[in-house]
């Protein structure tokens, strides 16, 4: 058996503010052996990242390591002076971060950023360091390393940047690589490539990896050993095989239960939410389908003194789809494929360049302001980021009321107040929430408020622009359950914009796959996911890490 590389004993880290003390990590212990991949899984705020930062001794100022010990290759890291710790960082332990956009210095060529490390830690000459940097860029599979070495960070795509970050981290052949959500900010096809790469490099360099993530499917793919963290405590530790076949702790089961999957269609994810089955479906009498025909949105590129248009960015280039009443249509694709632009231009938040959107016999892009106002009540939107989608200076009650007032749905002030309370109840919030401010709520609760705001004007169609991608899986499950419940009750249609294929599999009726501004394939979910026709859809689906949740014996 391989030797122990990193040993953490009873580690406790606290955050101190003038008001109170918050224990982020509470007495955790674990060991990582040489060459092993150790995954630390948990939801946001569970203390994963703080654990990693404690190990490498890069905690933010407000945080303090209260007790415990950390031994790396037999040396007590907490007893080392900062000088020696600096040598350990880089050559002993190195780290890659979640956000490749901000981890690279934008004004220094990427080559310099790699050679800097080499010259600092391995006393190489500039020439040697450059040779080695080229080797490293080649090792992280960057095409044309001799070209890339002299570029700046902004010239590279997200995946490329993350590769450069990995190259920097590997520069001094560390024994332990800490990877803090290295693929979360990347598209799923890029994620697959980066995970592959990390896996290969691990064998090649023989290093251990502390892999931090919230994504169980990724864990299944990369980890040898899994530790589940919740509220600063490791609740379960076991090998990959054991964890994914028979997890021990209830919390692990909860995580699996919250995962959306094809097999769970038609059933609520969380039983405690709205009873064990959906209420009887409301009969949708109107058969009005929203029709989108050849929609195109071009953004002009302007140059020169007089801002002459010299070309166009074709964000959306001829998209046709329809949203039948009471159904969910998923629009999937990678970042930059134009999904959000489609959603916003249907609502006329962005004026489309070409094409038409018809609803209830009206062409939404040609009608005048008063007719548009009527239609505004039928079409609503829920945004991705629950933090920026509400005015922080308004009370929740006022936020929900805004649409009712603007569209004159209810004129009487008292009736409006009652309607707000009713809406809050429908989305599962306390009725005193209407007198509080958005910042007093968590991300999931805010998303519920946004849904209540959209519901307030009795819409027929809600455009959901990645409403769950900023949320933890368990909160995502709650929101998906809520949306399902509302659809069954009011017969609302959703245009569900997402990049998460398992959500599509669980939630959508139809799916449209977007690639570079065009829809490359659309159809029933079972058909598209089960038997993809287009090359891109196949690539997308094969890149998604597979995870069949274990079944709990009754």
């Amino acid at each position: 058996m391989a030797r122990t590389l990193l040993q953490v004993r009873q580690l406790t880290t606290e955050f101190r503010t003038s008001r109170r003390t918050l224990t982020a990590v509470n007495g955790i212990s674990f060991e990582i052996r040489e060459g092993q991949t150790f995954a630390l899984v948990g939801e946001s705020g569970s203390g994963k990242s703080v654990t990693a930062l404690s190990v490498i001794r890069l905690l933010p100022e407000a945080a303090r390591l209260v007790s415990g010990s950390i031994h790396f290759e037999g040396r007590d890291l907490l007893a080392l002076p900062e000088r020696e710790m600096r040598d350990i960082r880089g050559s002993g332990i190195s780290m890659i971060f979640q956000e490749p956009m901000t981890s690279l210095n934008p004004v220094v060529k990427v080559g310099r950023q790699i050679t800097e490390v080499l010259m600092r830690h391995q006393s190489m000459s500039a020439k040697q360091a450059r040779e080695r940097a080229l080797d490293l860029l080649d090792a992280v599979r960057i095409p044309q390393p001799s070209y890339t070495i002299d570029t700046y960070a902004h010239e590279l795509s997200g995946g490329m940047k993350q590769r450069v970050m990995i190259a920097i981290a590997l520069a001094c052949k560390p024994r332990l690589l800490i990877a803090d959500e290295p693929t979360t900010a990347l598209d799923v096809t890029i994620q697959a490539q980066v995970l592959d790469l990390i896996n290969d490099l691990q064998e090649q360099f023989g290093m251990a990896i502390l892999f931090i993530t919230h994504d169980l499917a990724v864990v299944k793919q990369v980890a040898d050993h899994v530790a589940v963290m919740k509220e600063g405590v490791i609740v379960e530790q076991s090998s990959n095989e054991v964890f994914f076949s028979a997890p021990q702790h209830d919390y692990s089961w909860d995580l699996f239960a919250a995962l959306p999957a094809m097999e769970k269609r038609g059933k609520p994810l969380l039983e405690r939410n709205h009873g064990s089955h959906w209420p009887t479906a409301a009969n949708t009498t109107q058969d009005d389908t929203l029709q989108v025909r050849d929609l195109a949105v071009y953004f002009p590129i302007r140059k020169g003194l007089f801002k002459r248009t010299v070309g166009h960015v074709k964000a959306v280039d001829g998209v046709s789809l329809e949203i039948p009443p009471g159904k969910t249509v998923a629009l999937v694709g990678e970042s930059g494929s134009g999904k959000t632009t489609v959603g916003k231009s249907i609502l006329r938040l962005i004026q489309p360049t070409l094409g038409e959107v018809t609803y209830q016999g009206m062409r939404l892009h040609e009608i005048d302001r008063s007719q548009l106002l009527e239609q505004r009540a039928n079409l609503q939107i829920v945004f991705q980021d629950p933090y920026s989608s509400m005015n922080p200076r308004m009370l929740v009650g006022q936020i929900i009321e805004e649409g009712i007032k603007a569209l004159n749905v209810i004129v009487d002030a008292e009736a409006r107040r009652l309607r707000v309370l009713e809406l809050l109840k429908q989305v599962g919030l306390d009725k005193d929430a209407h007198l509080r401010y958005p910042h007093e709520f968590s991300g999931g609760q805010r998303q519920r408020i946004c849904i209540a705001r959209a519901l307030a004007v009795n819409p027929k169609i809600i455009i959901c622009d990645e409403p769950t991608s900023a949320l933890d899986v368990s909160v995502q499950a709650q929101i998906l359950d809520l949306l399902n419940h509302l659809q069954a009750r009011y017969g609302i249609s959703y245009l569900f914009i997402t990049h998460n294929m398992s959500v599509v599999a669980y939630f959508a009726d139809r799916v449209a796959v977007m690639y570079q501004g065009r829809i490359v394939e659309q159809g029933e979910v079972e058909q598209v996911l089960g038997n993809p026709q287009h090359e891109y859809t196949k690539r997308l689906l094969s890149a998604v890490p597979r995870l069949v949740p274990p079944v709990r014996a009754a």
Binding site: I381, F383, S389, N391, P392, R393, A406, R453
Partner: protein, 471 residues
């Protein structure tokens, strides 16, 4: 009531409108938790409370100095039964320090001096003439033998002042502790202790200490000023302390009214440019780029010279010298405001551009909320912190700008007391032999204190209001 017929100068009215505005803003903010929270942070910081107390003293003097009236004539014409008013305009503050105002000497005298700063030929009783430094008419006039008695007298006065300060301080603290104990339902001794133990949320110990120091300075200064020229006298024998105190109003008026005049421009144009984009944005941008490329001093000089010409041609339009000086002050605020709104406008335009694309504004658009409502409900409240931060930061810069402009003679009216005018006249005094340093020192000290504490306050306010500063 005022002991005379009130006069409402334009700047007086504006400054009280501003005070009213600030008071009603805080009354409103106290009811809104999201607005109250950052100001709570200001009140909880030590630098915040210290600078607030010092600034409050300055503002109090400025406000007292902004209540103007024609005083009642002491010796009315014999044949009149009605009350007659003097043609001169003075303020409540002048009335309070009438001793200082009236106590003029012949010419320069040094701080705390009993003699003039220049030798004069005096004819003695026996008919011989001697060149001596004559005694002052007012400063240290109560002493028989200034050489031997002065030090003891000054110390004695300081002691009296200190005792008075301690007395007032103790009374204030007891009253405050009584209020605290009533409000928090704690026993009086407990409440009294929180003023000193340094563990309370609002730093009461800092508040009480600062208050003590401020009272000490005020009381000792008042005692001294009743018998001496604490900061000496100027060329025409006027008390320099009085001039420096009168200059406070000028500084505060310039610092606040200028921003008051500039803020509407900046807000309206900045938000319009950012929100409507298109040709409106272009026009506004060209406007402020053009304005920014003309040197500010040149513009100010031209405007002030034009006003001078106007005022000399229409001398009859101004009832008194004071009104004339006041007009010029207001005009200076206006022209300073016109040249300085561009910075804030640019900031607001950028912030509006950002907010316009934020989801909650998009959501409002999806509800069919009109542009005006969107601006008032969603944009304006979310850029107000920038406005407030700019206001406080600009204040000290404008006080200094006044000094610079008056120094080159395009500032306030020469008859108006201001630090800039004092520094301007000190130019010649510094070249004189022996040197007269106290005018310059006094104006610098008063200006420095105001600007220093305004800057400290601005830092605290920015930390509390700026969302980019992590909490």
């Amino acid at each position: 009531m005022l002991p005379g017929k009130p006069v409402f100068l334009l700047t007086d009215i504006l400054i009280f409108v501003l005070v009213l505005g600030i008071v009603s803003f805080f009354a409103y903010a106290m009811r809104k938790p999201h607005l109250r929270q950052p100001w709570g942070q200001v009140v909880r910081s030590r630098a915040g409370v210290i600078s607030m107390i010092v600034l409050a003293v300055y503002v109090a003097i400025a406000l007292l100095d902004s209540l103007h009236f024609h005083p009642v004539l002491e010796n009315p014409a014999a044949d009149s039964t009605e009350v007659q008013y003097s043609g001169e305009v003075i303020s409540v503050f002048d009335q309070l320090v009438s001793g200082l105002r009236a106590s003029t000497e012949k010419t320069y005298s040094a701080p705390f001096s009993a003699h003039l700063y220049a030798k004069e030929t005096v004819q003695q009783a026996d008919g011989t003439r001697v060149r001596v430094y004559p005694r002052l008419a007012w400063g240290a006039a109560h002493l028989e033998e200034p050489h031997t008695q002065k030090t003891a007298d000054i110390l004695g006065l300081a002691l009296t002042g200190a005792l008075k300060a301690i007395l007032v301080w103790a009374v204030l603290l007891v009253l405050w502790a009584l209020y605290l104990s009533a409000r928090t339902a704690r026993a009086f001794p407990v409440a009294f202790r929180t003023l000193f133990d340094g563990h309370s949320e609002v730093p009461w110990r800092t508040v009480s200490m600062t208050l003590g120091v401020v009272l000490l300075v005020l009381m000792v200064g008042a005692e001294w000023a009743s018998k001496y020229h604490v900061l000496g006298t100027d060329k025409v024998g006027e008390d320099v302390l009085y001039q420096a105190l009168k200059s406070i109003r000028t500084g505060v008026v310039i610092g606040t009214l200028t921003t008051l005049l500039m803020v509407p421009f900046a807000i309206v144009l900045g938000i319009m440019a950012g929100f409507f984009r298109g040709w409106i944005d272009d026009v506004i941008q060209y406007l402020y780029t053009t304005l920014n490329s003309v040197p500010g001093v040149l513009l100010i000089a031209a405007a002030v010279l034009m006003l001078n010409v106007y005022m000399s041609k229409h001398a009859e339009a101004f009832a008194s010298l004071t009104q004339r000086a006041d007009m010029r002050l207001l005009f200076l605020c206006l022209i300073l405001g016109l040249t300085s709104w561009t910075g804030l406008c640019r900031l607001l335009r950028a912030e509006t551009l950002k907010l316009r694309a934020v989801d909650f504004v998009q959501a409002a658009t999806a509800f069919g909320v009109g542009p005006m409502q969107t601006i008032f409900r969603h944009i304006l409240p979310n850029v107000m912190h920038i406005v407030l931060i700019t206001l406080v930061l600009d204040f000290s810069g404008l006080v200094l700008a006044e000094a610079v402009l008056s120094y080159i003679n395009i500032g306030v009216d020469p008859t108006m007391n201001s630090w800039g005018n004092m520094i301007n006249s000190a130019r010649l005094e510094m070249a004189r032999e022996p040197i007269v340093w106290w005018s310059l020192a006094a104006s610098l000290f008063f200006m420095f204190t105001l600007v220093l504490f305004a800057n400290l306050f601005a830092d605290v306010v920015r930390d509390a209001l700026d969302p980019r500063v992590s909490r």
